[in-house]
């Protein structure tokens, strides 16, 4: 999987468009909290002039939860191997389409089950300190899709420009799992490595 680093780890030229006339951000990095932070900072710069601060804030929050989840839980059980993440974000008419692959351990199925907030409890000492991540991901995205293929996790979703507005939109194109070869040519290239 070392070849992945040769594909990403840089931003594309702003005029690059994957053939659909829209800006794109593609990168690849080791799953560590500091690398996630650096990636999100670069992503903000890339889309700063493209979308509103509100959209950027929601995008950044969702991706922080997803990517740090890979960093925290994706490593092999003996800790000998940290996963590599490949991230692709593309602007579509009604939202930002995100695709994340990693070669870490499989995502537990219950992560994608419909989530509600953890019980807040009535006493201060009962307050939950975690369990918010997948709730936030599900709450802030549309068309959340996950599958496992061989040694890779594939997660895709859309962060809509207008919250709650894109559930039935064909313009936010990830309602079903995409065909990697045609919808995500960069990821198909990764698979071939």
């Amino acid at each position: 999987m070392g070849d992945m680093t040769h594909i990403g780890a840089k931003m594309r030229d702003p005029t690059d468009d994957l053939g659909c006339g829209q800006p794109v951000f593609v990168t690849s990095f080791m799953a560590t909290p500091l690398a996630v932070r650096a990636t999100l900072t670069a992503l903000l710069k890339r889309f700063h002039d493209e979308v509103s601060d509100d959209v950027l804030g929601r995008l950044q929050l969702v991706l922080a939860e997803v990517l740090n989840n890979v960093a925290e839980h994706g490593a092999s059980e003996d800790g000998s191997y940290g996963p590599q993440i490949h991230l692709c974000v593309t602007r579509h008419p009604r939202g930002l389409a995100c695709a994340i692959t990693d070669d870490g351990v499989s995502l537990p199925a219950n992560c994608l089950s419909p989530r509600s907030l953890p019980q807040l409890g009535t006493l201060t000492e009962e307050l939950p300190e975690g369990g918010f991540g997948w709730f936030l991901i599900q709450d802030l995205t549309h068309a959340l899709c996950y599958y496992r293929e061989e040694s890779h996790n594939f997660l895709a979703f859309c962060v809509p420009f207008t919250p709650g507005a894109a559930t039935d939109s064909a313009d936010c194109p990830r309602r079903k799992c995409p065909d990697v070869a045609t919808d995500w040519p960069d990821l198909a290239a990764v698979r071939r490595c």
């Binding site: 932070r37 922080a64 960093a71 907030l117 307050l127 939950p128 300190e129 918010f132 709450d139």
Partner: protein, 103 residues
Amino acid sequence: MQLTISAGDGATVVTVEEKRLDAAIATHFKDRMREIVVAQKQPIILDLHNVDFMDSSGLGAVIAVHKAMPAGMALELAQLTPNVDRVFKLTRMDSVFTIHAAV
């Protein structure tokens, strides 16, 4: 991890001098804040006006500090930026904390 401690009106004001309260820094923040709240022995106002971004790890750390406060002492929050305010509202933690618009 930069924190500034100053005297407020009946409370100690702790200002987070970081732009991001995220998974890269949450554990360190929680440990430093626990030391501070135990030593201060009075209510704490956590001033977050410098924090442009917070994720659920940062939120969990703030909740942990809240739970670590000495009995009868409150941890209150001040000057949430839009991205931080969003996390508190979405998780309904805005109903748990007293949040001030200004220090």
